[in-house]
């Protein structure tokens, strides 16, 4: 059976055993059927796996998202592109960033950006809360992504002390012990937390805006996020400084400055006064 003749035949034919002579008509019919089957399979697989051009348009936008798209097409499209896919050298893609990111960036006035620089800074917001929600809804429906839970008070009944521990471990490296912010490399910075609302802090942790790392729900569970927010809002922001005027809570730098500008200046004037009384 291991003759040269046998080796020249195809694999299927060898498995099938002895070749059976078929009529020319049947062979042609078989070839046509196989071709059609292969084409159908390939086409079907393509329609299943490939993102169709129609896919984005297919699910109809909700009313809020429609409003959001209208706002987007006026204010955001220059840098983020027609379908929020991003524009090279201007702005990143917004597919998948979620409404959390939109809410943080737009409600703090960081977006729309005034100019391209190391980092967008907090400004008076350009859009109302309702418009921010609509924009967020649009981006959410466009590509999904993290969302901030509903409600304005996100730290109700959370443990402040536990939040302090988490804050010192996770946040104080950049935002400093008093939440006043700090410098990062090349003009970037961690902003002050004093003007931030519950939702903005939550959104920032979820989306990791600018240079901030993402603290997803598997890094900091939602209740831990609530604790951190509680520590910031209840202790760092709400609490008066027990020791008097805080000097900005910038650490020993301003304390040293105060020792000279207030202490030494006052005492040198006192010595001028005392030495003048002769």
């Amino acid at each position: 059976m291991t003759s040269d003749n046998d080796r020249r035949r195809g694999l299927l034919a060898r498995l099938r055993g002895r070749p059976v002579a078929r009529s020319r008509g049947r062979r042609r019919l078989g070839a046509a059927v196989r071709l059609i089957a292969a084409l159908t399979l390939a086409g079907g697989a393509y329609t299943v796996f490939a993102p169709g051009v129609q896919a984005q348009e297919n699910p109809p936008l909700s009313a809020a998202a429609g409003e959001g798209k209208a706002l987007f097409d006026v204010s955001c499209v220059t840098c983020h592109g027609r379908n929020a896919q991003g524009v090279e050298g201007r702005g990143p893609s917004l597919i998948g960033v979620g409404s959390a990111s939109v809410e943080f960036q737009v409600s703090t006035g960081r977006m729309p950006m005034a100019r391209q620089e190391a980092q967008a800074m907090r400004k008076p917001p350009q859009f109302s809360d309702e418009q921010v929600r609509q924009l967020g809804q649009y981006i959410q429906e466009l590509g999904g992504g993290p969302q901030v839970p509903a409600g304005n008070d996100l730290h109700k009944d959370a443990n402040v002390a536990a939040g302090g521990e988490l804050f010192r471990i996770n946040c104080s490296q950049c935002h400093a012990f008093g939440g006043g912010g700090g410098a990062l490399s090349s003009g970037k910075y961690a902003p002050s937390l004093r003007p931030a609302s519950d939702r903005q802090i939550y959104a920032a942790m979820l989306s990791g805006p600018q240079n901030m790392p993402v603290f997803g729900d598997n890094q900091l569970r939602p209740e831990q996020k609530a604790q951190i927010i509680a520590y910031i809002q209840e202790n760092l922001k709400n609490n008066q400084d027990q020791g008097g005027f805080s000097l900005g809570r910038y650490g020993p730098s301003t304390e040293g400055l105060a020792a000279f500008l207030i202490g030494i200046v006052a005492l040198v004037f006192a010595s001028l006064w005392i030495a003048g009384k002769s």
Binding site: R168, S172, G276
Partner: protein
């Protein structure tokens, strides 16, 4: 029978006589109480340091009543809610209790810290005064050395105290200190493990720093301060040159009563300023930093201002690691140069400066008269250079805070510090030198030509000249008088020459009436200033 009269007025004298009968103290005491101190405001800067030190001792003793120098782990259950349930060291817990549960504890802690900052600041300001006026010259070199040592011992006192609360900030500082010790070649690891009792942080460092901070270092400070003041007594205080003041005498006020009273008052002022700062301005809010944990380092973790220059030199140092090819290669980390070598050089230069200068100028004379900074341009310029160097390093120590609050790139700040460290000191030298020469020249000009009056006279030929008020009789030659510079202030305004009548004395409000009222029969009433004739070019068109 005559009633014995009790004479109250004679009581102090009688009792003093009785004391002297027994102890023979009148002669030495008279010498002491009659000791004369020259009076100038700049001589009081050292007192600020001395009085801050007294406040430090007083408040520090209070703090030791409540502080517990132990690193045993406890769970906080005090009145500061945001830390309740947090595991921490006993030292940190007692610092928190001191701040929140001990009556007056927080204000005492803050006064202690402010007094420490002021102590170091006053030492530096006093040192600058001594340097720029040449008060360190022979015979006072020893006192200059003691003063410099006081700065460095104060530096140690500050650092050990900074570490005691065991909060996040002190732990971070300790970690850096241990890294600095580790960077010393050959002996580094032995030094570190013997100080920390093993690996950082260990369990003993707080107790060791405590005993150093409350016993060893204060004892050393007290000893040095005593010798410092004793030498001022023995060698007498320097004075500014001026009428009646020579290199061989001291003109001023007697120790008792005036000088002692003034110093007592000044102590009250210093105490008051420190108490106000302790009560009004929050310093080192340890409760925000939390207990020290190795993985917690806050942004804006800086040392106190007098250590900040070392932080700055570390930040500016490029990452140049030296590998010596012995065995597997011996590494000297870049940290070694800015934190061990640099302070070593600074200590050396500051200690030996008086000798360096005397050697350079071949000056072996005694100097009891001070020099105005402008009269010694080279020294003034060198001092400005040192100040500029220190300021650049100190600013670089806080460069992240500056970068953040003034919205400058942190990298730009680092490079500005690196370049500035090389460029600013020579620039300061040049500017100070030129400034001194300019001021000298102006002094000589005023002595030769008189004070500028601001009156412009037009001569018949149409030229304009400014009228000068000569300080002495003009010799008729070319309007020049002969006046030597004596190393003291040359009057440069007509007001100083009495153009406005007698000056009103008093700092905040006049202590004597400026107007007509005669002070004493011997002091005639002050004539009102005569109406000044208009200065014109001859005929006026009226």
């Amino acid at each position: 029978m005559k009633r014995r009269k009790f004479d109250v007025a004679a009581l102090p004298g009688k009792s003093a006589g009785a004391v002297d009968d027994r102890f023979q103290v009148a002669t030495p005491l008279r010498k002491l109480l009659n000791k004369v101190f020259p009076d100038h405001w700049s001589f009081l800067l050292g007192e600020i340091a001395l009085f801050s030190f007294v406040v430090l001792l007083l408040t520090g003793v209070f703090l030791t009543f409540f502080y517990e120098p132990a690193m045993t782990e406890v769970v906080y259950d005090g009145s500061y809610a945001p830390l309740v349930g947090t595991p921490m060291s006993a030292a940190y817990e007692s610092s928190l209790n001191l701040s929140f549960d001990v009556r007056g504890g927080l204000v005492m802690r803050q006064m202690h810290h402010w007094a420490a900052l002021l102590f170091m600041a006053a030492i530096v300001v006093h040192m600058l005064r001594v340097f720029f006026t040449g008060a360190f010259r022979k015979p006072r070199e020893t006192n200059w050395i003691i003063g410099s040592l006081l700065f460095w011992v104060g530096f140690l006192a500050g650092f050990t105290g900074y570490s005691l609360p065991d909060d996040g900030l002190s732990g971070t500082g300790l970690r850096i200190a241990s890294a600095i010790m580790l960077s010393i070649p050959v002996i580094g690891s032995w030094v570190t493990s013997s100080i920390f009792g093993g690996e950082f942080p260990g369990e003993i460092i707080i107790s060791r720093f405590f005993i150093a901070h409350v016993l060893l270092i204060p004892a050393l400070l007290v000893a040095l301060i005593t010798v410092h003041l004793g030498l001022v007594f023995k060698q007498k205080h320097t004075q500014w040159p001026g009428p009646g003041r020579t290199n061989e005498n001291v003109v001023g006020e007697r120790m008792f009563p005036r000088y002692a009273l003034k110093q007592g008052g000044f102590f009250m002022v210093v105490f008051g300023v420190i108490a106000l700062m302790g009560g009004l301005f929050q310093i080192n809010p340890i409760w925000y930093f939390g207990p020290y944990e190795a993985w917690v380092v806050s942004a804006a973790s800086q040392p106190d201002w007098y250590v900040m220059f070392l932080d700055g030199s570390t930040r500016l140092m490029p990452a140049w690691q030296l590998t010596i090819p012995i065995g597997n290669g011996y590494v000297i980390p870049p940290l070694f140069w800015p934190t061990v070598v640099l302070p070593g050089i600074l200590v050396g230069i500051s200690l030996f400066y008086p000798f360096l200068e005397a050697r350079h100028l071949k000056d072996r004379k005694h100097h009891n008269l001070l020099q105005r900074p402008r009269d010694v341009p080279a020294r003034t310029a060198a001092g400005s250079m040192a100040v500029a160097f220190y300021v650049v390093l100190t600013l670089s120590g806080g460069n992240d805070v500056i970068a953040d609050k003034f919205q400058i790139s942190l990298n730009a700040m680092t490079w500005a510090g690196r370049i500035g460290l090389l460029i600013v000191p020579p620039l300061a030298y040049y500017l100070a030198y030129r400034l001194c020469l300019g001021l000298q020249q102006h002094d000589r000009e005023v002595l030769a030509h008189g004070v500028e009056t601001g009156i412009i006279r037009r001569l018949p030929d149409g030229r304009f000249v400014e009228v000068h008020q000569p300080l002495t009789a003009v010799d008729g030659h070319d309007g020049h008088g002969e006046l030597d510079y004596v190393g003291w202030v040359v009057p440069k305004k007509m007001n100083r020459l009495g153009a406005l009548g007698p000056a009103v004395r008093g700092f905040f409000y006049p202590i004597e009436r400026p107007a007509e009222a005669p002070v004493s029969p011997g002091h005639p009433p002050v004539e009102p200033r005569p109406e000044r004739a208009e200065v014109g070019s001859g005929e006026s068109r009226r």
